[in-house]
């Protein structure tokens, strides 16, 4: 039977109805605790068919296949295929039955949704499932389903992590051509368990090109009702609402759900009036709930949403809109002109990069630019590492900044949100490369007004390129709101009218084209003395001309001043609160013009004691005061003290004092770590000084550190790392969940004399044993030191370790022994 496509049906202004619960009904009918419901497609095929048919008879237009938990993590390949085929056959049999009957709803359009639930695993970095592995898990059901056919849409549902949902959407896009619906699970605070709000979900999934977006499970219709208007306000695609019939509770030994069909239907009628286009039920709802809901809502029109034309990007928790207040994009994760940063990239020193991110977040950047391009590094690989790590520690949206299309695509795939993309330009080849990626992965793209003929000198010339970019983007289905036009600013030092033409272009795009704009404002002052004064003034003028976003150094006090004043005077700062906060937080810098606070310093600010009696580096280290320790180190270097003297006579001395107190139990682990943090801050000053002055830092031997495969606890390992680094060891930190092969390869590559392995759980000690075994075989020169909550001397002996250390200080002692032996051998 031919039927109108689901997209046409949605555009026709008629409400569509999903079915209700499956799992809860199966439980009522004998599904045993722990039994996998998907197997009922084979063992109870008639029951499943009947259930689908009952939902169609209740008025549902879309039934969900009984495949919610079906994937290769739970089922062997053959069984999985069998179940997919059976599930689709059951659904199609039910559809045939209703359509060939004389039932009231026989002629209603009937659709089948291939139902996809979460994998049951948490994705990295919080869990152990890699993003691309999650994509493959979802493909394990989508591929056989696509081969079998017989479904009209894919429903990705009950997702409480947008990252996992994104993996599922990509898997669906790369496997089938049918419409994709996504529903996520909110709590009563309108947040997913992993933190995303409704606006974030809409922007992210709309960007990925799904057909409809919404919410299901966890809440009843009453609790869902306040979330619906937020989805409707943000969405340009239809909104789905599939609530539970409340949650199961026990009443005199019987399991009951809170919401009966009448109450359910009444609430759903309100939800329909609030703008939902597709409604149905989830756990606890039955054909009776759906029938009553259809009856009460059948005359409520479901208006297809108007395009909202929002320029919006997201992280995994929140959305950033480019509309009133100019958006600040931190530019510091970029090697251009930064020796220390380049060194960090070459050394794969991700922590340094993360630190730059955190400092910018502390200084109120809305978005972080991420550029890791250096000629000698593998940019696609590094951009993935940096994006993964950044989104593990902070929740700001990222601007993926690269000219390498491979790096761009890999970054866009891995990014947990809807990214800002830097950039496309008016060159045909670049547009042909970048726009398809924006279309596939979603995103807002920075569009540079440059083409094959270069940057036009005048505003008029640049606007022609803007028109070309808008027109070309439209061919890919992208809207004007998906582009941020960068009028490009050249240095005013080389062109007197550079500032004026750029500002004219910003003004024209804003007012005449109703487009959004962005500028990297610091270029304007290139080659001039006291650049920050010029940059800040230009920034102020550009905001006045309507600039939507600026790529700036958020740590610059001049930029911060200009921004705080602009926002306040333009009416974007209610009761001047942001300005007052800025002025209060920066009292010292505004009066004395001192350097910006670092993330480490900000954290230690709570323990700083202004006017402390002692002013020695040892005092600051032993007290764990990071910022004063760094400042004191800078001052000592400025006075001409040899950095090696600072290390050996001051830092190590202070650490030894702290270490001794720790061993005597007069000082505790958190205090030891605060001291280590202060020492790291001092070391960082020395490191930066050495890089800038071109001197080599002398390090002790190399040590490989890893938390073994299967173990995701790395606090202990990180403590050991910090202390070893403080004592001058060259630590190669492989992170957590590291396979034996990786540890051994790294040991061979660096010819490291010592490998430190950490494990927290008894279940991961075998991984430790396997690593040591492989180490003995392939890198027999290396010693293995082990530690971690579960380890004992007995365990260590049993798995063949050279040394068990009960804590980080003991590890430092053992590493020193190994280092001295290594020096002897190599001298």
């Amino acid at each position: 039977m031919s039927r109108i496509s689901i997209e046409e049906q949605l555009r026709s202004g008629k409400m569509l109805y999903f079915d209700g619960g499956t799992g809860s009904i199966l439980q009522e009918n004998g599904l045993q605790p722990g039994e996998l419901p998907e197997r009922w497609n084979l063992s109870h095929a008639d029951f499943i068919r009947g259930l689908h048919e009952n939902y169609y008879k209740a008025g549902a237009n879309i039934i969900k296949t009984d495949t919610f938990g079906l994937n290769c993590l739970k089922f062997a390949e053959d069984e999985l295929k069998q179940i997919v085929n059976a599930a689709l056959a059951n659904a199609n049999a039910a559809r045939e039955a209703i359509e060939n009957s004389d039932h009231t709803f026989a002629k209603a359009p009937h659709y089948i949704a291939l139902d996809i639930g979460p994998t049951g695993k948490l994705l990295k970095p919080l869990g152990d499932l890699a993003f691309e592995d999650a994509v493959d898990v979802f493909k394990s059901i989508l591929k056989p389903a696509a081969t079998c056919g017989g479904f009209d849409l894919v429903l990705i549902e009950t997702m409480n992590d947008v990252y996992e949902a994104k993996a599922a959407v990509l898997a669906a896009k790369e496997t089938t051509d049918v419409p994709i619906f996504v529903t996520t699970v909110y709590d009563e605070n309108a947040k997913l368990l992993t933190g995303a709000d409704p606006e974030t979900c809409v922007a992210l999934f709309e960007g990925l090109g799904v057909t409809a977006v919404g919410l299901n499970c966890s809440l009843g219709p009453k609790q869902m009702a306040p979330i619906v208007p937020r989805l409707v306000a943000a969405s340009s695609i239809p909104v789905i609402v599939n609530p539970n019939a409340g949650l199961p509770r026990s009443e005199n030994g019987k399991t009951v759900y809170d919401v009966d069909p009448d109450d359910f239907a009444e609430c759903m009628a309100e939800i329909a009036k609030a703008g939902a286009n597709i409604i149905g039920g989830c756990c606890g709802t039955t054909p009776a709930h759906i029938a009553r809901m259809v009856e009460l809502t059948k005359d409520i029109p479901a208006v297809y949403p108007e395009p909202k034309n929002l320029t919006v990007i997201t992280s995994y928790t929140h959305a950033v809109y480019f509309k009133d207040r100019p958006i600040l994009i931190g530019e510091r994760i970029n090697p251009t002109g930064k020796k220390r940063f380049k060194q960090a990239l070459r050394d794969h020193d991700i922590d340094y990069i993360l630190q730059e991110g955190l400092t910018q977040q502390d200084n109120h950047a809305d978005v972080l630019d991420v550029n890791v391009g250096l000629p000698e590094i593998d940019e696609p690989s590094l951009i993935c590492d940096v994006i993964t790590e950044l989104q593990g520690v902070l929740d700001l949206p990222l601007q993926i900044d690269t000219t390498d299309p491979i790096a761009l695509e890999r970054g866009l795939r891995l990014y947990n949100g809807k990214a800002l993309i830097n950039s496309v330009n008016g060159k045909q080849e670049v547009m042909d490369t970048v726009f398809p990626l924006v279309k596939k992965y979603g995103g807002v793209v920075v569009a540079l007004l440059i083409d094959e003929d270069g940057i036009p000198e005048t505003c008029e010339g640049r606007l022609k390129i803007a028109e070309k970019l808008y027109a070309e983007a439209e061919k890919y289905g992208l809207k004007k709101s998906d582009l941020l036009i960068d009028s490009l600013c050249m240095s005013v030092a080389s062109d007197d009218v550079a500032g004026r033409e750029t500002l004219k272009t910003v003004d024209a795009i804003t007012r005449n084209y109703h487009g959004k704009t962005i500028l990297g404002v610091s270029n304007i002052s290139f080659g001039l003395p006291h650049r920050e004064i010029v940059t800040a003034a230009f920034f102020q003028m550009a905001m006045q001309a309507g600039l939507s976003a600026a790529i700036i150094n958020p740590n610059s006090i001049d930029i911060q001043k200009a921004y705080a004043c602009h926002c306040m005077l333009s009416g974007f700062d209610e009761k001047c609160l942001d300005y007052i906060t800025f002025a209060t937080e920066n009292e010292d810098r505004l009066t004395a013009g001192t350097a910006p606070a670092t993330a480490g310093a900000a954290a230690s600010a709570g323990v700083a004691k202004p006017g402390a009696a002692s002013d020695t580096l040892e005092y600051f280290i032993t007290k764990g005061l990071a910022e004063p320790a760094a400042e004191k180190t800078k001052a000592m270097i400025g006075e001409g003290v040899d950095p090696m003297v600072i290390i050996n006579d001051h830092l190590i001395n202070a650490l030894n004092i702290v270490g001794k107190k720790f061993e005597e139990k007069t000082l505790f682990l958190p205090q030891l770590l605060m001291s280590a943090g202060a020492c790291s801050a001092a070391f960082d000053v020395i490191k930066t000084h050495m890089i800038n002055s071109g001197t080599q830092q002398q390090k002790k031997c190399k040590i490989i550190l890893a938390t073994v495969k299967g173990d995701i606890h790395d606090i202990g390992k990180n403590i050991v790392k910090t202390l070893l680094e403080n004592y001058g060891f060259d630590v190669i930190d492989l992170g957590k969940d590291v396979p034996p092969e990786t540890v051994v390869e790294s040991c061979i590559e660096h010819h490291a004399p010592l490998v430190g392995l950490s494990a927290l759980m008894t279940t991961t000690v075998p991984s430790m044993e396997a690593t040591i075994k492989l180490l003995r075989e392939k890198a027999p020169w290396a010693k293995a030191v082990v530690g971690g909550a579960v380890l004992t001397q007995e365990y260590a002996d049993m798995i063949g370790a050279d040394k068990y250390c009960k804590d980080a200080m003991e590890t430092v002692g053992y590493a020193t022994e190994v280092h001295e032996a290594w020096i002897k051998e190599n001298s």
Partner: protein, 228 residues
Amino acid sequence: MALPKTGTIFYHHADASALTIDMPQSYRYMQIGKCGPDEDLKKQIDLALEAQLSVCKPNAIYAYFPLTFEEEKSSCKDKHYCIGAGFTNICSDTLYKHIKDCNGVFLFAATIGVGCDRLIARDRLKNQALPMIHQGLGAMLVEVYCDLLEADIHKMYGDENMAFATRYSPGYGDFSLSHQIDVFRFFGKAARDIGLSLNDSLLMQPTKSVTALIGVKNASSCGGNPNE
């Protein structure tokens, strides 16, 4: 109130503000001695607690099962007792000792969510002591949430003729951690609903999560404190 239907999964939720904060417990996890933190350290801990509470999302699932006990079951090898706990059979002499007087058991899985893990990952870059502090606070928060959950279960299902054992987790005594697989198999979708998963090394994610059994007896005492 009557005990719930066997094997039906229920959800439990609490606001972080409802938790009874137990700082001495968290100091123990942070390896801070009996004299407690000094003033500077305490300030850091207080700030960390504020951050933790702002992201703490306590959620749990639980189900009730009747218990059976068997002695000398061949499949139990070196263990004397086999406990039929409804969702699985458990060979464990220490668990038996703990719940031998009980007729039923509540199985639960509780978590405070990913917030603590995120703070540990982020704040290690700010200050080396913070991961340790967050670790201690997170461990305390999940334990006090379990206390609250236990108290609610007592309140909802208990009466004067009923007694409850203290909670006992896989990994305690000879109650093998491998039973985590059974726990997660049983909870299935419900575990996903509260954002809880088990990795191949039997570690729960988010890390600040607990699974445990609470024995139930229809009269007098039932089990003791596993720490005793």
